[in-house]
């Protein structure tokens, strides 16, 4: 009997190890950390001369320490879980030490540490952590400009403002730990929430999510709505890759908005013949290109176009295709046939060829780029929407709405469409990466925006002809494209897991 109990106990403990999201995240963190540590080591030593690059080597050392420490924490967590089934408070306190890793820019360790130190996490806590992390990252990236010969006129006031907002986020984080619970928050938090919403103008959409979430909890008593909100977001926040993706996307968004004030556009577009093809340095973190333009500034400003075109080229066909698909799915066979067969014709033309044809006919600029990429994507969205509408319109609540005498149009757009949106959202996030790549591809082919305008495809194009001599010119924009597309895909996966009812 005793034996059976201990066996059950062991199984339960093993199970707790397997289901612990914190343990999964710990493993995820040390692996990523290790990979970057190795990359730093690789780059700190020049293989030709044997010289050691002091700054990169220093970075390597700090990252190596945080990685080793992370491995220690992970092993301790495993031990805790196997022995007692829960992570001990002592282990959790190690997280405070690991927070120091943030100073070296180890955002993975930082995010993990924040997650570890708090045993009972509300959704707001996670939001607040990421809000703060995003703000810190924005500050860190912008402050690189201090090494430049000069900064833009608006640099100091905006950095001051960003710093103050960052402090405010820190205060909010502390307040949330102290006062916010799973389904309730004190009434006075409304003001904090409103302030958070206001700061989201800087592009830090985590603040928007946090503010909205807090507002719901302070104002609403609708328990089921909050439950749904909490469950959905808990599913997403449990998913480390999805959160990382979302973090990177929102960071890019925040950077592309704040760069308007903290970066000097002239450094990204004006030629500087005295600084041609400089290797990465403090003043030019990613080096300079063949015209002496700062690649770092170019990539930062390029995020704006990539995101704008990527988002617009997803939203536009999403709305048009969604509308057509909804009509086709809801109304008679006749309408359905007409719309869908016409869209099938459009579908039969390869998207990128259609885009090239449109650009060639109407000229290359941002608006035409969006149109060109949108047109080809309409049919796929229409198909997704139509399938959902066909399914949802058979539900009972649609029948009851019909029985109540609602008009077809009202039923379609008030009842059916809102309940068919989840797959559309998932599809959009998954295809937005494709749109980003298409934008860059067209620019790479010389069909996108003008060549001097900082756009990731343009930057990569310049880099591609210097692959051998100045490889950093291609590596950094390439990485930026990869990371953004990967982030959208990770987030899309996370959203699908969270929104798909079948996976419950």
């Amino acid at each position: 009997m005793r034996q059976v109990k201990s066996m059950k106990d062991t199984i339960w403990k093993r199970h707790s190890l397997a289901v612990s999201t914190e343990y999964t995240q710990a493993n995820f963190t040390w692996v990523l950390s290790l990979v970057l540590t190795v990359i730093f080591l690789w780059n700190s030593i020049s293989f030709k001369t044997g010289d050691v690059h002091p700054v990169v080597f220093g970075l390597f050392c700090v990252w190596a320490v945080t990685t080793v420490f992370q491995v220690c924490i992970t092993r301790k967590m495993k031990k805790d879980l196997l022995q007692t089934g829960v992570i001990q408070p002592g282990t959790r306190h190690l997280g405070y030490v690991q927070l120091v890793g943030l100073l070296a820019g180890n955002i993975f360790a930082g995010a993990f540490a924040f997650n570890l130190v708090n045993a009972k996490k509300s959704v707001e806590y996670t939001f607040a952590v990421y809000t703060l992390l995003t703000q810190l990252a924005v500050l860190a990236i912008s402050s690189v400009n201090l090494f430049k010969p000069y900064v833009s006129d608006t640099f100091l006031p905006s950095m001051g403002t960003l710093l103050l907002i960052g402090l405010f986020y820190l205060v909010v984080l502390i307040l949330i730990v102290l006062h916010v619970h799973e389904y309730e928050a004190p009434r006075w938090m409304t003001w904090v929430a409103l302030l958070l919403l206001a700061t989201a103008v800087s592009g830090n959409l985590f603040a928007l999510l946090l503010g909205w979430s807090l507002l719901m909890k302070t104002r609403s008593s609708d328990h089921s709505r909050m439950l749904k909100w909490n469950v959905t977001w808990e599913k997403i926040t449990r998913n480390s890759t999805a959160m990382l993706g979302m973090f990177f996307i929102l960071l890019m968004l925040a950077i592309s908005i704040t760069s308007r004030f903290t970066f000097d556009y002239a450094l990204a577009v004006e030629n500087n013949y005295s600084a041609i093809l400089q290797p990465p340095s403090a003043a030019y973190p990613f080096g300079t290109d063949n015209f002496g333009r700062d690649v770092f500034s170019r990539i930062v400003f390029g995020a704006r176009i990539s995101l704008l075109v990527g988002l617009a080229a997803t939203i536009v066909p999403g709305v048009i295709g969604g509308f057509l698909g909804a009509i086709a799915g809801y109304y008679s066979n006749h309408v359905d046939n007409w719309i869908m067969r016409l869209l099938d014709i459009l579908y039969s033309i390869p998207g990128i060829l259609l885009a090239i044809a449109i650009i060639a006919a109407f000229g290359a600029n941002t608006v035409n780029l969006i149109i060109a990429l949108s047109v080809g994507a309409i049919p796929t969205y229409a198909r997704t929407m139509r399938a959902n509408v066909l399914m949802v319109s058979n539900y009972d609540f649609v029948d009851s709405a019909k029985a109540l005498g609602e008009s077809d149009f009202a039923i379609l757009f008030k009842q059916v469409v809102p309940n068919s949106l989840a797959p559309m959202i998932v599809k959009s996030t998954l295809t937005i990466g494709g749109a980003v790549i298409a934008t860059s591809s067209l620019s790479y082919l010389g069909l996108g925006v003008e060549p001097h305008i900082p756009e990731w495809g343009n930057i990569l194009k310049v880099g591609s002809s210097y692959l051998e001599t100045n490889s950093y010119l291609a590596i950094f924009p390439g990485l930026a494209i990869i990371l953004l597309v990967l982030s959208f895909n990770f987030l899309g996966d996370g959203l699908r897991d969270a929104l798909d009812p079948k996976l419950d």
């Binding site: 900064v151 950095m159 710093l163 402090l167 004006e270 005295s274 002809s465």
Partner: protein, 603 residues
């Protein structure tokens, strides 16, 4: 705690503010008081160019924007679309380039700037006058005339804004080819016949693989094309009366003549022809000796059709030869005895006989009867419309290549006036040598090589078996393959991985890659290629306003171009710069830009 943090932050910001310079501080330090004036509306300039000139366009754009213009770039993917945009007039400035392949200054300006020139957009009496005047002068005298012409074109009227003069750079695979046998000439296209492998055993086994950018060949009839698609090919397929050396001297080496002479008066030119070259044709994919000699009749036929605008449809080179009045066979030996050479006492005959083993004893008008070893020769006399010493450079150009009178007449049976491009197939049409159903190779080559066939990727040449066989000018390598690789970076890769042996046109920014490669040798020399901005001369604001054109002209800073190209370019003032040292220089001047812009605004 919050208060402490806040005050700490404020302190930090203050400290930072102390040691960081803002943009406006830096700018006002550098320039003193900025007098850019009020917020006047910027002048919008549309710059047209090709994708291959993207770097130059970017530099021009940057310079114009820094001088207060608003710039719109119109970048076209290839020459065809560029030309279409140019003809439609959709530009203010067009990025253009010109290479003087004949190596004489007249060619550098005649077609480009004379009001009746084939590529001219300029209509200016004084320019016409100066070009004509310089063409009759010898090298000592024309420098000053060309200097005036340049000043008229650039400083006075601003018809063009010069950018730079390029170098020529050629990468050679020295592991495969003997680099001493590979020539790099300033003007003329590369001669294939001298090129040899390191390993002589490979001459018949392997082809020489070289590259050119354009695969769509204008025409293999020498007079019907003058562009990058055929210049090298036709140069190697047709022999000429004279050739240019690597530094642009006119010589008979490697040509159809033993010697040439310019008679007193600078209007009569005599050429003593050799009898050891036969036309080659292609039969079953191989070159065969047709047994038909390249003789004076063919020379006369070729030159007369070269100067005659109506000899073929789409005649693209008659303006180069418009100074030829007549070409004829000389049969009277006493004419050569009487005439003396220009600037000397020597008779033309003596000049022509110079270095020959067997002296002239008879002149024949039938090429089959010429037998040089017995003293019977053929002599051709070219007369110019006016004294024009530079005609020799034009005779060295590929468009003066000698074609077979018999073969060309037998193919060009159509009526020129009613020529139908869909029905009539003229001599040298690329359709006849393109693989496929339309293949019907009727070329007769007088030069060292003949084209067998081509497709979209390459053209295959084989050596002419009857081209000076046994002499040092006999082609060394039996077959030549020309790969069509448009992108210079791809061509460079092809050179480095051994796919091609020779790459003419290594980009300036990639010299170090070739130099560092153990298998490769970089040959560099001056070239006659000049890149400039052509102003639109009809229907645009820049066409009407000289002030606006000058404002743009003085915005151009050639030093920045030199910097961008790591010093691998030279300054230029016009297309004449590489040929004539006129001493003119364009100096960027922002004050002048502002003055001219102000003047323009008052117009």
């Amino acid at each position: 705690m919050g208060k402490k943090l806040l005050s700490l932050t404020l302190l930090l910001v203050l400290v930072l503010a102390g040691c960081v310079q803002t943009k406006s501080e830096v700018e006002s330090e550098g320039k003193g008081t900025d007098t850019k004036g009020g917020p006047e509306e910027k002048v919008k300039i549309e710059v047209l160019g090709m994708g291959s000139g993207e770097e130059d366009l970017n530099i021009v754009r940057d310079q114009l924007i820094k001088n207060g213009f608003d710039v719109k770039l119109n970048i076209q993917p290839d020459y065809g679309t560029f030309k279409a945009q140019q003809e439609a007039g959709n530009y203010d400035l067009a990025l253009s380039s010109w290479t003087t392949v004949t190596g004489n200054p007249d060619y550098a300006v005649r077609a480009l700037f004379k009001s009746d020139g084939a590529n001219s957009l300029v209509d200016d009496e004084k320019v016409d006058e100066l070009i004509d005047q310089a063409s009759t002068e010898t090298a000592e005298d024309y420098t000053n005339t060309y200097k005036q012409l340049e000043q008229r074109l650039v400083a006075e009227k601003a018809y063009i804004a010069p950018l730079y003069n390029s170098f020529k750079a050629q990468g050679v695979n020295k592991k495969v080819l003997n680099p001493d046998t590979v020539r790099l000439a300033k003007s003329r296209a590369i001669a294939w016949e001298t090129i040899d492998f390191n390993d002589a055993a490979k001459r018949t086994a392997d082809p020489l693989v070289t590259q050119q950018a354009i695969g769509d060949l204008t025409s293999l009839d020498p007079i019907k094309g003058n562009d990058g698609s055929i210049n090298t090919l036709n140069t190697n397929m047709y022999v000429r009366l004279v050739n240019l050396t690597d530094d642009d001297k006119v010589v008979p080496d490697g040509s159809l003549s033993y010697n040439y002479a310019m008679a007193e008066g600078n209007s009569d030119y005599y050429f003593l022809l050799r009898n050891d070259i036969n036309f080659a044709a292609v039969s079953d994919g191989k070159a065969v000796d047709t047994g038909e000699r390249v003789g004076a009749e063919d020379v006369v036929f070729s030159l007369n059709r070269a100067k005659d605008k109506d000899s073929v449809p789409d005649h693209r080179t008659y303006s180069l030869h418009e100074h030829i009045k007549n070409a004829e066979i000389v049969t009277d030996l006493s004419e050569l005895e009487k005439a003396t050479v220009s600037g000397g006492d020597e008779t033309v005959q003596a000049a022509l006989e110079n270095g020959l083993d067997t002296k002239l004893s008879a002149l024949v008008d039938d090429k089959t009867k010429a037998d040089n070893s017995q003293g019977s020769y053929q002599v051709v006399k070219v007369t110019t419309t006016e004294p024009f010493p530079q005609v020799l450079n034009y005779l060295a150009h590929q468009s003066a290549g000698i074609v077979s009178e018999k073969q060309v007449k037998s193919i060009n049976t159509y009526d020129v006036a009613t020529f139908d491009v869909d029905k009539d197939i003229p001599y040298g049409d690329q359709r006849t040598v393109t693989e496929g159903a339309g293949y019907n190779n009727q070329l007769y080559a007088s030069g060292p090589y003949i084209l067998v066939k081509k497709n979209d990727y390459q053209a295959d040449f084989v050596k002419n078996p009857a081209y000076r066989a046994g002499s040092e000018f006999e082609p060394k390598i039996s077959a030549v393959t020309v790969r069509f690789i448009e992108d210079s970076d791809s061509a460079l890769s092809a050179l480095r991985n051994g796919e091609i042996h020779l790459f003419n046109g290594v980009p300036e920014t990639k010299y170090d890659l070739v130099e560092k490669d153990d298998n490769l040798l970089l040959q560099k020399s001056d070239s006659n290629a000049v890149t400039y901005l052509q102003f639109n001369t009809a229907g645009r604001t820049v066409s009407d306003s000289e002030n606006l054109r000058k404002a743009i002209l003085f915005s151009i800073n050639q030093d920045e171009f030199l910097n961008y190209y790591h010093g691998n370019k030279k300054k230029a003032y016009s297309t004449l710069s590489p040929l004539v040292d006129t001493g003119n220089e364009l100096i960027a001047d922002q004050n002048q830009v502002n003055e001219f812009l102000e003047a323009y605004r008052k117009e």
